[in-house]
């Protein structure tokens, strides 16, 4: 299942890039940079509680009213001392967001998310289509902040289970600060996901929610 979303990501990226004529590539902005990621992961109950840190990469492509974020991160989650979990795992996440400016501060977003857990059985791998909106505001010269919110549709889990149409949501908060006359941007992103997953082993539906808070701080170079 996760392989399917990975294929979509590669496909979407390829289509987006090849759809642009070469003469227009010069007019668009490409912002790429590494990030430090740190997160909090919970599954099923408060006993399965992990915290961890890792690294990531974020690329943003801006062209006229369109923009796209490509975010990859890998966080090594370790069980907290208060929980019952014993094994750590790596969460590799790919997130793609296509954004179209609508009006004022509002843009519409469409994308997908794919998170893979390694070892596979220590946590749920998950993939979903994302749809939502972003409100962006220029705080001052070179300082922008954005608030995102949306739904996660069609979520698929490696361990099975289902989520209702409105049962998976995400929130996000981001800030970028221009430095070195706009050639470099300091970036900070926060993302929260909540999957109200339910499983049924024959004895009836049981709640098995998944929740992740992920913060990323880094910098990016503007081309």
């Amino acid at each position: 299942m996760s392989g399917r979303f990975g294929g979509w990501a590669a496909c979407g990226l390829g289509v987006l890039l090849t759809a642009q004529p070469l003469n227009r590539l010069a007019a668009q902005h490409v912002i790429v940079g590494p990030q430090i990621a740190f997160g909090d992961y919970r599954e099923v109950s408060s006993d399965l509680h992990y915290r961890g840190a890792g690294g990531g990469l974020k690329a943003t492509l801006e062209w006229k009213k369109l923009s796209a974020d490509f975010v990859v991160s890998k966080v090594k989650y370790k069980p907290t001392s208060t929980g019952t979990a014993t094994a750590e795992f790596d969460a590799s996440e790919i997130e793609v967001r296509l954004r179209y400016y609508i009006t004022g501060p509002v843009s519409g977003e469409l994308g997908f998310i794919n998170r893979k857990a390694d070892p596979e059985f220590e946590a749920q791998s998950v993939g979903a289509i994302t749809a939502g909106a972003q409100m962006a505001y220029l705080l001052g010269p070179g300082v922008r902040m954005a608030l995102r919110g949306g739904l996660l549709f069609g979520a698929k889990y490696s361990g099975g289970g289902t989520t209702s149409a409105l049962g998976a949501l995400q929130l996000g908060l981001g800030v970028t600060v221009d430095a070195l006359r706009g050639r470099v941007r300091v970036t900070g992103d926060y993302g929260f996901q909540r999957f109200s997953r339910k499983t049924d082993d024959g004895s009836g539906a049981l709640p098995a929610p998944i929740q992740q808070s992920l913060g990323r701080v880094g910098f990016a170079i503007v081309f």
Partner: protein
């Protein structure tokens, strides 16, 4: 028949006036000088005898006119008006431009002179105004006086573009006539530069008289209008303005961060326990700090829509005016500035 004696004051006035009139040219003929002397001595019989004698001698045009003038004044002083009129007619025929000074001439002599003018056909006081104008937008003023009702034809001769002669007016007139000549050829083009003669011919029955005034026409370039870089009284306004400091960045940073954290808290209730605020708190705190700094910083200049619109209108207005000026200059470059100057006359009319 009673013959009135000339009054002494008028004779004195005449005697005082005549030397002044004769100052312009000197009299060479001795007989005429004797006549002048006799007139100065108020010896009218002697004046008549000697003046008539001088007319039988060889005299210049001026001297001949002077001799008849002495006879005219003398006959007027002796109340022989008809003879005075005849004498003055001869004066005018010889020198049509001759005039008497009303302040220094007796009324009898003046009236005799005026009667003489009405009895002969002459064109006098032909004047052409000195004028500058753009070809097709002005005219040359021409004035003359014709002494009898007659057919008067005004022509311009000479130059290179008039084919010898160009009629500019034909009318039946008496007294002063004012004309306006646009200085254009029949084709509408300006008269070429050069020296011309304005000829006025008056005809009544078998009598005719003509006089002329030489003029010089020169061509010049019409000045063009300079393009505008600004409109008087209107200046460009700055297209950006620095807004006043406000707490809006800080407020928005708090609102956005608050929504994100409150949303996280609201969504994470349930089996998984309270949410972790570490990640959101760190990013949200960074945004609040950035908002606070932006609140303290001088705001970035913002586009002033009103001023931009005003400047745009001003630029459009100047561009429109410059387009009109360019069209006007194109027209002006095809125009000719005419300068008409009257030249000194060589001779009188005939």
């Amino acid at each position: 028949m009673h013959r009135s004696t000339p009054s002494i004051p008028w004779l004195v006035a005449l005697a005082l006036a005549l030397p002044l009139v004769a100052q312009a040219q000197t009299i060479q003929n001795a007989t005429l000088r004797r006549a002048q002397q006799a007139f100065d001595n108020l010896d009218y019989r002697q004046v008549l005898t000697v003046a008539h004698a001088s007319l039988r001698e060889r005299l210049t045009g001026f001297e001949r006119a002077r001799a008849y003038e002495l006879l005219g004044f003398t006959y007027a002083g002796m109340d022989s008006i008809l003879k005075a009129v005849d004498a003055f007619k001869q004066v005018v025929l010889i020198e049509p431009e001759r005039d008497l000074d009303p302040n220094r001439t007796s009324p009898k002599a003046l009236s005799a002179f005026q009667v003489a003018l009405t009895q002969i056909l002459v064109v006098r006081q032909l004047r052409v105004d000195s004028v500058n104008f753009i070809g097709g937008q002005g005219a040359v003023g021409i004035r003359y006086t014709v002494t009898q009702p007659s057919r008067v034809v005004t022509r311009v001769t000479g130059g290179s573009g008039t084919s010898g002669s160009m009629r500019i007016d034909s009318t039946v007139a008496n007294g002063q006539v004012n004309l306006r000549w646009p200085a254009r050829l029949p084709s509408g083009d300006p008269v070429p530069a050069g020296n011309y003669n304005v000829v006025v011919e008056a005809t009544v029955g078998q009598n005719s008289f003509s006089t002329s005034q030489p003029i010089r026409i020169t061509h010049g370039v019409v000045d063009t209008v300079a393009h505008l870089t600004s409109l008087p009284g209107y200046t460009y306004l700055p297209e950006t303005e620095v807004p006043p400091k406000s707490w809006r960045p800080m407020g928005l940073a708090l609102v956005y961060s608050g929504i994100a954290l409150a949303g996280t808290s609201a969504l994470s209730r349930g089996e998984l326990g309270s949410a972790s605020m570490r990640e959101g708190g760190l990013i949200g705190g960074g945004i609040v700090v950035a908002g606070f700094i932006m609140t303290l910083k001088k705001p970035a200049p913002q586009p002033a829509r009103g001023n931009i619109l005003y400047n745009s209108l001003l630029r459009e207005q100047i561009a429109r005016r410059n387009t009109e000026i360019a069209q006007e200059n194109t027209r002006r470059r095809q125009q000719v500035a005419l300068s008409v100057v009257p030249l000194p006359r060589v001779g009188g009319g005939r």
